[in-house]
């Protein structure tokens, strides 16, 4: 078998699936045309208008979290690809790398717990600090106070 055959097959399947998805949704989907839906990017930012637009910062937060998950999977995938061989060969690297990955995953889960705990995935306003934490409250920020008597004498 030609070693490149799987790649050709992959390309064919990918092309088929893409074509099928686009065609079927075009054929079967209901068509209610609105100007907004006709815009080039249906579910993104309006393509025409002022580019200096306010954009919820939460989008970036979600994007960042997505990258974390993504990188985690990339690490695990490459590790998994060699781990099986090591186990079969009885290599000392198997246990070594297993615990290494466990430490990595523990830290990763901790970070994940932090993300959930700090409410980064909730789409409403971010949580604020408890007022007790903010230090002493003084009468007024800009109020000028008179010098104490001994200071006034020194001045």
């Amino acid at each position: 078998m030609n070693p490149y055959l799987p790649i050709v097959l992959l390309l064919a399947v990918a092309g088929l699936v893409c074509t099928a998805m686009v065609t079927l949704s075009w054929v079967l989907g209901p068509k209610k045309v609105t100007p907004y839906k006709q815009a080039p990017y249906e579910c993104g930012v309006a393509p025409i208008g002022n580019a200096r637009e306010r954009f919820p910062v939460k989008f970036y937060l979600v994007a960042m979290m997505f990258i974390l998950f993504d990188v985690e999977v990339v690490f695990l995938w490459s590790w998994m690809a060699v781990f099986k061989d090591w186990v079969e060969a009885g290599s000392p690297a198997a246990a070594y790398s297993f615990w290494g990955v466990m430490v990595y995953m523990a830290l990763w889960f901790l970070g994940d717990a932090y993300v959930i705990r700090s409410g980064a995935l909730e789409w409403e306003e971010s949580k604020t600090l408890a007022p007790e934490k903010l230090g002493p409250v003084r009468p007024s920020d800009t109020e000028e106070i008179a010098l104490e008597p001994d200071l006034a004498r020194g001045a």
Partner: protein, 519 residues
């Protein structure tokens, strides 16, 4: 990879101890923050202090253990380099710098909480970020592999980008974070491109690769041009990080805008880590060409002069200290240049002790100065113009007094470590026949006195009639931070000989402070 796979090397856990200690303390601090403490962050601060003390103790426990590199890959076969190479190096320079970074972080943590409360920013996340940033700096100082160095640098920087923008409601802080992030990313790309070119020329990312090429002197011009381009780009990356002059533009804005406690850590910790790594880099590049010494000497001259001259025109205390930190980067670079020149030229070899000593003194005097400056943060506001410090000596006599010590040390006035540090740099520059650079350093020190005195004057000026309650009350943490910094500066001067003996970074046989008048 075959079925044999990777052979796990024996891990020297002891040598990694300080690094793991700092990282783990950060993790514990983050877990504590997940409890969302409602009243204050004292528990987190306590954990950080204990963790940092333990890490510092672990560094000292490593002090006399056999050094060397570990976590080795198959470097040696690629380029014929000899010796035990690896990703992590356990040597005295690394230990001294690690201890220094732990100390700087400890002092930062001590005075941060009071300031953050006054600024209305008592986020518990501050502490893990500072600790992980410090861990990045420790990695930078304990590796001779450029990629691991880069990893450490990014860990250090990314945490600092967040910290610079901690005061997210202030425009200046936003500006500082964005500017630092963009220019930092720019610098990182320079560095990474340089590392890639060095890899192209030598076939390894380990610094030994450069040394191997310099030793064998291959005929290929192409190899050398690629190597030189790589070294040049890496030096540009370094120059951005330590703020040498053509690459210093971000420094004043970032120092002015970022929260003061973060700036203190940034000014002290980042420079210490980056200069330590630079020292390791200089160690090998001097053997490729003498041009690097000339280039770096010129950079040092420009950095000192421009930094000091622009500082004279500033009206904002944090900006003055930012330019002062640029000037100090120039001074330290003189020491680095002298060290490099002495290795490659026909001179007595100089040790790394001058650089390490100056970094230590510089770190604590800058950090102490920023700790005192943080006292203007009050009720969610903070001013940093010179006028904002009028009357500080009335409301906070002890920090103001210590501030004078820090300024005296920064200006290089005797009885402080700053003086001895500058003296040693001066002597090192003379010993490699760089009279012009030494003289320039002297002239610049004199210029710098002018602007340090202006801040001292502001702190000691009294406003007639009324004094606004602009200053935060001095808490125990700030008090201790000031006392520790001032003590170290004076002890560094008085007990210089035992200190140098203990650091053990001097060239063998060299008398460290010989010829110093009155000693």
């Amino acid at each position: 990879m075959g079925s044999s796979g990777l052979h796990p090397a024996a891990i020297d856990w002891m040598a990694l101890g300080p690094l793991i200690g700092v990282c783990l303390t950060g993790v514990v601090a983050m877990v504590l923050e997940m409890w969302r403490p409602r009243m204050n962050n004292n528990g987190i601060v306590g954990v950080c202090i204990v963790g940092l003390l333990v890490s510092g103790f672990l560094v000292i426990a490593n002090w006399n253990r056999p050094g060397g590199e570990s976590f080795g890959a198959d470097y040696s076969e690629a380029n014929g380099a000899v010796g035990n190479l690896g990703l992590f190096i356990n040597d005295r320079l690394g230990q001294v710098i690690q201890l220094l970074i732990v100390g700087i972080t400890l002092v930062t943590v001590l005075f941060s909480e009071g300031y953050l409360r006054e600024k209305r920013l008592p986020f518990g996340e501050y502490y893990p970020l500072v600790l992980w940033s410090a861990a990045g700096g420790m990695v930078m100082a304990t590796t001779r592999d450029l990629l691991i160095f880069f990893l450490g640098l990014e860990t250090l920087s990314i945490a600092l980008y967040v910290l610079a923008g901690l005061s997210s409601k202030e425009r200046r802080s936003q500006e500082a974070a964005l500017k630092y992030f963009l220019l930092g990313a720019f610098a990182s790309s320079f560095l990474l491109y340089g590392i890639a070119l060095i890899y192209g020329a030598t076939g390894t990312t380990h610094l030994s690769g450069i040394a191997a090429i310099a030793n064998t002197q291959p005929e290929s011009i192409a190899t050398f041009s690629v190597l030189y381009a790589g070294i040049g780009l890496v030096l540009v990356g370094f120059a951005f990080k330590v703020a040498l002059v053509p690459f210093h533009m971000w420094t004043p804005d970032v120092y002015q805008g970022a929260p003061t406690s973060v700036v203190g850590f940034m000014a002290a910790g980042v420079k210490v880590a980056a200069f330590a790594a630079m020292l390791r880099f200089i160690d090998v590049i001097v053997f490729t060409s003498s041009v690097w010494i000339t280039v770096l000497a010129a950079l040092a001259a420009v950095t000192m002069t421009i930094g000091n001259l622009i500082a004279l025109a500033q009206k904002d205390a944090k900006r003055i200290l930012a330019y002062s930190s640029i000037a100090h980067a120039g001074y330290i670079l003189v020491a680095v240049v002298a060290y490099g020149a002495s290795k490659s030229g026909p001179y007595e070899p100089l040790g790394q002790s001058t650089v390490a000593y100056y970094l230590a003194m510089y770190g604590f005097m800058t950090l102490g100065a920023f700790a005192v400056l943080s006292l203007t943060g009050r009720d969610g506001k903070e001013g940093s113009t010179l006028e904002d410090y009028y009357g500080l000596y009335r409301s906070a006599p002890f920090p103001a007094a210590m501030f004078i010590v820090f300024m005296a040390s920064l200006a290089g006035i005797p009885l402080t470590g700053g003086f001895l540090g500058k003296f040693l740099i001066f002597r090192d520059a003379l010993s490699v026949d760089m009279l012009w650079l030494a003289l320039l350093l002297g002239v610049n020190s004199v210029i710098s006195v002018a602007y340090y005195l202006r801040i001292v004057q502001a702190v000691c000026t009294e406003e007639p009639g009324v004094v606004r309650s602009r200053f935060a009350p001095v808490n125990a943490g700030l008090f201790t931070a000031c006392a520790v910094c001032a003590f170290l500066l004076i002890a560094g001067f008085v007990a210089a000989d035992p200190l140098f003996d203990w650091m053990g970074l001097s060239a063998p046989g060299a008398s460290v402070v010989a010829g110093l008048p009155g000693r």
